[in-house]
């Protein structure tokens, strides 16, 4: 592990081995992905909130899937798990409890962003 990376403790929301691999690729790939995270994820969360407000299971499924994929690329296990649970509700057409999960997902995305920013800063 690159010792330049800050010690974010045992409760780190991202997989540091995955981050290290992205860092090792060079060409500022990691920096570009973090910038993309900062710009894309709030948009994806807003789209998901909108889909939930409109009670549109298809749109909920699609947007939650996108957030799940985003989390997977950083090894953000809890983020992808929460997004996966919302995606499943969209797939089943039963959105009960999805808004509560969105609150948790939003908080987890903020933790992931914070951890990523600490690494590339």
């Amino acid at each position: 592990m690159n010792t330049d990376f800050p010690d974010t403790g045992n409760d780190c929301p991202i997989n540091l081995d995955v981050i290290q691999n992205l860092h090792d690729e060079g060409e500022n790939l990691l920096g570009a992905l973090v910038e993309m995270f900062i710009s894309e994820v709030p948009r994806q969360l807003a789209t998901l909130e909108d889909a939930l407000a409109k009670k549109d299971p298809g749109a909920v499924r699609l947007t939650a899937h996108t957030l799940k994929s985003t989390g997977a690329n950083f090894g953000a296990t809890r983020m992808l798990g929460l997004a996966g649970e919302i995606e499943e509700k969209g797939r089943n057409g039963s959105l009960e409890g999805a808004s509560a999960l969105l609150v948790l997902l939003r908080a987890e995305c903020a933790r992931v962003r914070e951890a990523l920013e600490a690494i590339v800063r």
Binding site: L29, L33, M36
Partner: protein, 131 residues
Amino acid sequence: MLTLPALIIDDSPFARKIIRHHLVKLGFHVVGEADNAAQGLRLFRELKPRLVTLDVMMPEREGTSSLAAFRTIRSEAPETAVVVVSAVPFEKTRDTFLNEGATAYVIKPFSQFSFEPVRQKLQRIFPAAVT
């Protein structure tokens, strides 16, 4: 060294960026990107890439699933190499794609290590192009 055209089909912009990085490093020229299987098939027919990377876990759009797109590509251009990308290591899914002619099956998140077997396979298929 030849530069061969490649197409990336993946709904995650993050995955597309990472895959593009790896393909360029291998010596490919990424000629197109699609965020769903239906759009990917259209670009495949238009751009005629020698290599396609296909995310297997994309939500179905316009009635086209990843598996359907894969089978169409295999049937229309069997000489095109298709690298299947997945976030989950389901053995059954992997076997389905490999038995039907996928060049490789790679699991997200990517690393230089997960791409190494892909590089070796592509080097055997495109010895004049892949570094």
